[in-house]
C-alpha cells in the first residue's frame, strides 16, 4: 500500500466517518417526516394496497410528501414503477 493510499484510505475507513455519513442519511429522512400529519403513514399503506392490486410494487417504491409554503400545502405522491415488474393482468381479472 502506498503512502497516499494509507493517508486517504485511512480517513474513509475510520468508523467516525461512517457514523457521520449514516447520521446524515437518516436525519435527512427524519427531518422531512417530522412535521408530517399523523395520518400520512396510514394513507401511504392504503395507497400501497390499492396500487398493489394492479402493479407489483413494494413499500419503498411509494413516496409521500406533504410540503407547505405559506398558506398552501402540496401533497405529493410518487409511485416508482419498475417496468419489468408490471403485472401482465390486473389482480382483479386474475382472480376471476
Amino acid at each position: 500500500m502506498s503512502i497516499l493510499e494509507r493517508l486517504f484510505g485511512r480517513r474513509t475507513n475510520q468508523s467516525a466517518t461512517v457514523a457521520k455519513n449514516r447520521l446524515q442519511m437518516v436525519l435527512v429522512q427524519e427531518r422531512a417526516g417530522r412535521n408530517a400529519p399523523d395520518f400520512l403513514p396510514l394513507l401511504k399503506n392504503e395507497i400501497l394496497a390499492v396500487v398493489a392490486k394492479y402493479l407489483d410494487v413494494e413499500d419503498e417504491m411509494i413516496k409521500i410528501q406533504l410540503e407547505s409554503a405559506g398558506d398552501t400545502s402540496v401533497l405529493e405522491i410518487n409511485v416508482e414503477l419498475d417496468k419489468a415488474r408490471i403485472k401482465p393482468k390486473p389482480a382483479i381479472a386474475a382472480k376471476a
Binding site: R11, Q14, S15, K20, V26, R31, N35
Partner: protein, 270 residues
Amino acid sequence: MGKVVTVTSGKGGVGKTTSSAAISTGLAMRGHKTVVIDFDVGLRNLDLIMGVERRVVFDFINVINGDANLNQALIKDKRVENLYIFPTSQTRDKDALRKEGVERVMDELRDNFDFIVCDSPAGIEHGALTALYHADAAIVVTNPEVSSVRDSDRILGMLSSRSRRAERNEAPVDEFLLLTRYSADRVAKGEMLSIEDVQEILSIPLMGIIPESESVLKASNTGQPVILDKDSIAGRAYDDAVARFLGETREMRFIKAEKKGLFRSLFGKA
C-alpha cells in the same frame, strides 16, 4: 422575570443530571439566584448528585398538588449562595405532572429566581415533554455517538414545535449544544465523531465540550457538583460552558489529543 433553562437530550445516560447540577451551581456562583428542578418523577436522582438526599421533605408533586408551598419544598444549598434544589417525588408516577399545576409552579419560580434549571428525564414521554414545554432556553446534552446525536436532533425538532414559546408564537427557544464525554484521543484516531461533525449535523451554537473525566464519577459518588472541583478538567470545562451561556467568549479547552498530539493532529485531521 426568570428564565427557564431546560437540560435535555432524548437519550438517557448522556449526562443531563450531572450537567444540570454543574450548570445551576455555576450560575449561582456567578451571583444569579438559581433553582434546579428534577423533572424525572419516580426516578429521583438530582438530590443525590447535589448531595442533599437527606434533606428532602416535600417535593415538586407536593407543591403541584398544594400539599406544601414552595418555601417548604426548596432546599437551600449549603455550599453556594443563591442556589436552591427542588427535588421530585420518588413514589408518584410521571402523570402527576398536571399541566395547570406545573404552569402555576413555574410562574411562581419565574417571579422569584433569575434562572430555573430543569433537569429533564430521558425519552419523549410526559415528564420530558413537560420540561421541554416550559423552556426559554434549552441545553441539549449530546455524546459524540450516533444514537445520542439522532435523539438530540429529534429533541430539537420538538423544541421548535411543542414548546410553550412555539405554541404562543413567541420568539423560539434559545438552543445550546453541550457536548459531553468527549475524548480527544479517540477523535484523533477517527473512532469518535468530532466537535465539527456533531456541530455540522445539529447546527446549533456550541456552549461547551466536557471531556470524559474520572472526576465526574468522583463528584457523583460524593454528591458534589463537578464544577466545584477546580482541579478537574470537567469542572473547568463546565465553568467555561456557564460563562459562554451567559454571553462571555471563551476559547474551547481540553479538546486536543494528549499523546502524540502534533503528529496525530497533522495526519489524523487531513
